[in-house]
Structure formats: structure tokens, C-alpha cells
């Protein structure tokens, strides 16, 4: 993957020298051409095409923003509810992710889903402790949410 990025930058620089205009927009055009070339020639270059991974990262960011907006609306609904009939509590969520980086991402994503806030990660990185603002509501839905997140994170990191 690193090799492909280097090749891409070299192609962009060559494009700049060939067209003899040294501006950012020429560099950008060259970079896009480089992506196209790498896409066409991907059979001859080691590793898979690196834009695949970039697209997955972008998907993860979109997921992040979507959840953030939803949880904001949810919390505002709760703030203006006349009667505060919530049942908060802390529950443990087992996770399959291993590395620190993946767990950090998952904990942050969970903090942004509606009604949940990650409080701590267990010593052996196998559980995330989550504070839910309304437990009966959350426990049902948390498993699908966790699976979508774990899948999206694994696609990026592995």
C-alpha cells in the first residue's frame, strides 16, 4: 500500500513537470491520473488497490456522522421530556476486536450512538463498560449496532 502511494505521488510530480505548471491544481490532476493508472494496472502491482481501503475509511466516517446526528436528536428529545422516567445503568459489552486502535475506535463510536457512553475498557481488552441512559431501551438494540460497527472497523484495519 505504501508503495502504491509513493508511485501515485511520483506520477503526480511527473505530470507537473510534463505540463510545466507548478500549482496545486496541476498536482491534483496528476494525482487523479495516477489513481486512474493504478486502477488500470492493478494486476501488475503488489497488494490490492489502495483506494478500496480509502473508500472503506470514508464509509466509516459517514457512519460516524450519521450516528452522531441521530444521538443528538435522541438526547434533545430526552431533555425536553416533561417527566424524567429513565433507568440509567452500566453494562458490559464483550467485543472481538483486539488491538488498541480498533478498541479506541469502537469505544468512540459507541459513545456517539444514541443513549450510550463508554466508561471504561477492561484490563484484558475483552469488554467495554457502557453507561446507558435508559437500559431497557438500549440493551435490545446494542447488539446489531455493535456488529455493524465491528464489521466496518475490521474492514478498515484488517
Amino acid at each position: 500500500m505504501n508503495l502504491q502511494i509513493v508511485i501515485n505521488i511520483v506520477i503526480a510530480l511527473m505530470w507537473m513537470f510534463l505540463s510545466e505548471s507548478y500549482t496545486f491544481s496541476t498536482f491534483l490532476v496528476g494525482y487523479l491520473l495516477g489513481i486512474l493508472l493504478l486502477f488500470v494496472l492493478q494486476r501488475f502491482i503488489p497488494d490490492s488497490f489502495y483506494m478500496d481501503r480509502v473508500i472503506k475509511v470514508i464509509k466509516l466516517i459517514v457512519l460516524f456522522i450519521k450516528e452522531l446526528t441521530l444521538s443528538n436528536i435522541e438526547i434533545v428529545k430526552l431533555v425536553y421530556k416533561p417527566k424524567l422516567d429513565i433507568e440509567p445503568g452500566i453494562f458490559a459489552l464483550p467485543t472481538e476486536l483486539k488491538s488498541n486502535w480498533e478498541i479506541t475506535l469502537l469505544a468512540n463510536l459507541i459513545s456517539l450512538t444514541p443513549g450510550t457512553l463508554s466508561i471504561a475498557v477492561s484490563e484484558d481488552n475483552s469488554k467495554i463498560y457502557i453507561h446507558a441512559i435508559d437500559i431497557p431501551d438500549v440493551v435490545e438494540s446494542i447488539n446489531d449496532i455493535k456488529e455493524t460497527f465491528e464489521k466496518a472497523i475490521m474492514e478498515v484495519t484488517r
Binding site: 434533545v76 433507568e87 443513549g115
Partner: protein, 126 residues
Amino acid sequence: MSGTWINLLIDIIISLSLLIGTFFIFSASIGMLRFPDLFTRLHAVTKGSTLGIAGIMIGAFLFLYVEHGIVSGKLILGMIFVMMTAPVSGHMISRAGYHNGVKLWDKSVRDDYAEAVNEKRKSIDN
């Protein structure tokens, strides 16, 4: 004639995004006052403020671009960093609070973390 319509539309969009932003921040502060304990308050603050700040920044960005023709990358960067750091700070504050002995609200129904913390305390004592 069409120019004025577009200007009006853009003005409306700018005002709307500013209003939405302030509304979310206002709700976050009301939540801060209304909710019963540290953790539920953190819910309100970490979530409510991110979209609020994003709305205000988008409004300011559009205003600067339309009125003065400035593309202000700092506003976009500010938005991204707030979105990235709000959950981290929420996590850190709640964790620190829990370890310093902040109690959950009386009506809380569950606390799985207490066992883990107790076990760790015991192993340290031994």
C-alpha cells in the same frame, strides 16, 4: 431578479444552521441542569454540544464564503476536531469520575463495572 432570490435562500440557510446550532447547545445546557448525576449529564453535554458546534461552524463558513468570498478551512477543521474529541473527553471524564467514587443515580438499575473495580481493588490489597 433571480440573484435576489438566491441571496434570500442563502440567508435563510445560514440563519437556519445558526439557529439549529444554538438550539442544540441550549438543549445540552438544559440537560446538564436537569439530569440527575454525573454520567447522565455527560450524555447531554458530549452529544448535544457536537452537533451544536457543527451547526454554528457551518453557518459561519457559509456566511464568510458568500459575503466575503473567504474559504475558511479553520472552521471545517474545528468542526472535525470537536467531533473527534468530544467522545474521548466524555470517556475520560466519566472514567475518572467513577474511579474517584462518584455514585450513580439512586434509580440506576445495573452496574456491571462495580464488580471489575472491586476485584481489582482486592487484588491490589492482597
